[in-house]
Subunit: 496 residues, 2 copies
């Protein structure tokens, strides 16, 4: 066993270093690399990727993982067991899927986004269809290759992104959304809210928005010695250790809310990883345990804290100080209404807090039907539009603002979307549990978000990937996941 | 042969990719990485470094290089021959130096800069002496290990940084400097020049300095799709290909000239590498052929173009536009005098164009004596101060502003300093040759620096590392290197 442990740990050291390099290249590419250099850097990236593949598929290493997995009971360290369990899971992909199919799929999903982008640009679903059909067909086969006694069908894919969450769990969640939330949303969004044109049509200089984002970094205690704020077309968080997790935001002169809530959202992701126990930095357990839990943190910071009345009660004056002319005569109340407006919309990434889950519901139902072969790719646009009408109450007038809007399927991600909605639901439950132990609103009003950070560190963040999402929910909230917290929270907030 | 060529090329592909990663890590570390992450990233870096070492010391690869070197006459491609010649040279370091000594020296020169920094901070040469003695002793031995029929003693080290330049060539150069330039400099710098306090004591807001650096990027046609301008404590250029060469500058509110000439200097380095023939991007021939030629480009852009009267005749109005209050009543003539003032100073990196070579002369004479064992490390401070008095006409009052000022020896660089002065001398000769074919002053006055870039591309830049410094000088100037161009240029400029 000693020998297998050594092989595993020596290889892990290399995998971490290669991972670091590839992370840095991606970060550089998204935020800074000169445009003309992208092809050159992609070439270097692929050489390193091959080197990493050789290391990960080394027979001694694969053998060590299998031996350690088979003799798990001889291992004492809980964290190490989790690592081996995860490594074994990853190994199945290499072992169960025929190599030629796997490589062909790799190529397909590299081309996919380019074909998708062009099809979207041209509003031409038929152009995208053959590629998407191949991708769906592979995922249908993949499910068969990877099925176990516990995981069947779509569950195989769902479990990759959210361990322990399959169709059974998601159905429970989405049924609550469908039955308790959807009718409420349709009612609330019947009438369009109106705001001062100063908010929706104003121009807010970038310099001021940048200053406010810097201010927010202090408010949320995002540690500048461990992070960086840059700009990119699509805001994201990119982390590699408890001492280095960077974020981006975007500034639009004509949209003040965009940079504010992007910055807060990404800080939520970043603070999660920065508050991982540092002991995980050299292991495979650094990071967020799942996409859903990750999204729960970013959404809690963005929506439940960042869009709360308490938050703006103390920070709105700062915003007015930066934009005195632009916000003249706009009251706190009006600003609050503006940042919490809810409306029926067609594009998921622009959807508000209230309607968001319904957009995801549409995708979940479609994926479930695609993977179980109940829906054909050619019938996708029609089904999409039908479900949008039904749940969101608004029908796309073309595929560009319908089924073609998201990139995810083009690179092969099925089972990913549901975690977006799950994150908000986790957040509501965690928030409620936290609020029993500390007075969250008071902390916000006293500008002490560090108290919130501390609580989340102890109950969610510090565990990194050493606990499953289900375990995290039990630790943080002392009960299993319950979607009702989420629906109750939204109904309460949007009834006011 | 086919087989050896394949091994070489396959390995080269990997070496390039690893080099790319290590380059990006260094760039990130110097310009952006959060402070708290530096130890973590250093750990990843050393893993990758080990991986690279394993690739470079692979027996098959080393064998391929030797076989190709021995059968060089069977190779047809000129560029490929140069690569093999260089690779063979690098190989000698691994083959001729006992591995344990090589590794011990590696550790020594990793610690060196830390010990040097502390000793400098405390103005305590004795603290640094034992380390420096070991470093010098290793270099004395290294010279013996690497000596060939052509290269003996200090020449071995000099040749590493400037192929074809040994004591004979440098003596010729520095004798001219000593005999023709030094007396002139002592005469010119007898009296301190005085300028408006507005220039030497003014405050120039960073925002304006940044805007002017951006303006300079356009003036010099530094292509933003292939480069980036950031900030760092010490300005530098960091390039990896003809499509990605980045620079940094620094902004001091109380020193307007600093950012301007740092930006121009680094653009000179960057444009050199960006104008390499792109075919070298995938080979070991991308980059500058030597430190001296590299420095010739940066100094030509900075001093001969950037500090010329013609340049400011057309760009000074822009500077005044940005700093109208700060530069009020400062004439173009006075600004020109200010940026070309010459004075006896103690610190090399702050020295002006006229006195710079004399600072380097001091270091050259000392290195020559150290490596040939004519000078002991313990006698260094005294010798330093004596030579400074003799050549620069000013004696340090302590070692901090004397022998302890430079970091270079602490990481084992002997033979590096002379290239700094050589660069300026190359520049004068190249400038003179260029001026025969295009009217440089007119190009500057017409804001057509692209014409200068184009000429340098054809006569210097495009060759990358495929030509030696001597070959470059012959191609660009149609004669061998002659130090008189440099001395003549300086005497003419500073006589006015």
């Amino acid at each position: 066993m000693e020998n297998y442990i050594n092989i595993y740990k020596e290889t892990r050291k290399k995998i971490k270093a290669y991972g670091y390099m590839m992370w840095l290249m991606s970060w550089d590419r998204e935020t800074e690399a000169p445009k003309a250099s992208l092809a050159y850097s992609a070439k270097q990236f692929s050489v390193i990727q091959e080197e990493l593949y050789a290391i990960e598929s080394n027979p001694d290493y694969m053998d060590a993982i299998e031996k350690l997995y088979e003799n798990m009971d001889q291992l004492e360290d809980h964290d190490f067991k989790v690592e081996i369990k995860n490594a074994y899971k990853d190994l199945r992909m290499i072992k169960m899927v025929p190599k030629d199919e796997y490589l062909a799929y790799g190529l397909l999903t590299q081309e996919g986004p380019h074909i998708w982008a062009e099809a979207k640009e041209k509003n031409d679903f038929e152009m995208y269809r053959p590629t998407l059909e191949k991708i769906v067909a592979f995922n249908q086969k993949l499910v068969k290759y990877l099925e176990t006694d516990e995981l069947k069908g779509y569950d195989v894919l769902l479990d990759m992104y959210e361990e322990g969450f399959g169709v059974k769990e998601y159905d429970l969640f989405f049924n609550t959304v469908k039955e308790d939330l959807a009718p409420f949303v349709l009612e609330v969004t019947k009438h369009k809210q109106r705001f001062s044109r100063k908010l929706t049509k104003g121009i807010f200089h970038i310099q001021g928005q940048k200053a406010f984002s810097e201010y927010l970094m202090d408010v949320f205690h995002y540690d500048r010695t461990k992070g960086v704020l840059k700009e990119s077309a699509h805001p994201f968080t990119s982390g590699v250790s408890s001492v280095d997790t960077r974020i981006t935001t975007r500034y639009h002169e004509d949209n003040l809310a965009s940079s504010i809530f992007s910055t807060i959202h990404e800080m939520g992701h970043a603070i999660y990883e920065l508050q991982n126990d540092p002991k995980y930095d050299d292991t495979m357990l650094h990071g967020g345990t799942s996409l859903g839990i990750h999204e729960s943190e970013s959404r809690m910071y963005e929506n439940m804290i960042g869009r709360s009345y308490a938050f703006w009660k103390i920070h709105y004056p700062k915003l007015v100080e930066i934009f005195p002319k632009e916000l003249k005569n706009i009251t706190l109340e009006e600003f609050y209404q503006y940042i919490n407006r809810a409306e029926r919309s067609l594009i998921r990434i622009e959807a508000d807090e209230l309607t968001y889950a319904l957009h995801v519901l549409v995708r979940y139902e479609i994926e479930k039907q695609l993977i179980s072969r109940k829906l054909k790719v050619k019938d996708l646009p029609k089904r999409w539009n039908g479900l949008m009408s039904k749940y969101v109450g608004k029908k796309p007038s073309n595929d560009k603002e319908g089924v073609l809007q998201d990139i995810h399927w083009s690179f092969g991600s099925f089972g990913y979307f549901p975690t977006y909605a799950l994150g908000s639901a986790y957040a509501a439950q965690i928030y409620q549990a936290m609020n029993k132990e500390i007075n969250v609103e008071e902390a916000v009003l006293n500008n002490q978000i560090n108290l919130i950070n501390d609580w989340l560190k102890e109950h969610v963040h510090k565990f990194g990937r050493s606990k499953t999402p289900k375990e995290i929910m039990m630790i943080a909230t002392k009960e299993d996941f319950k979607p009702s917290y989420y629906v109750d929270y939204l109904i309460k907030k949007f009834t006011n």
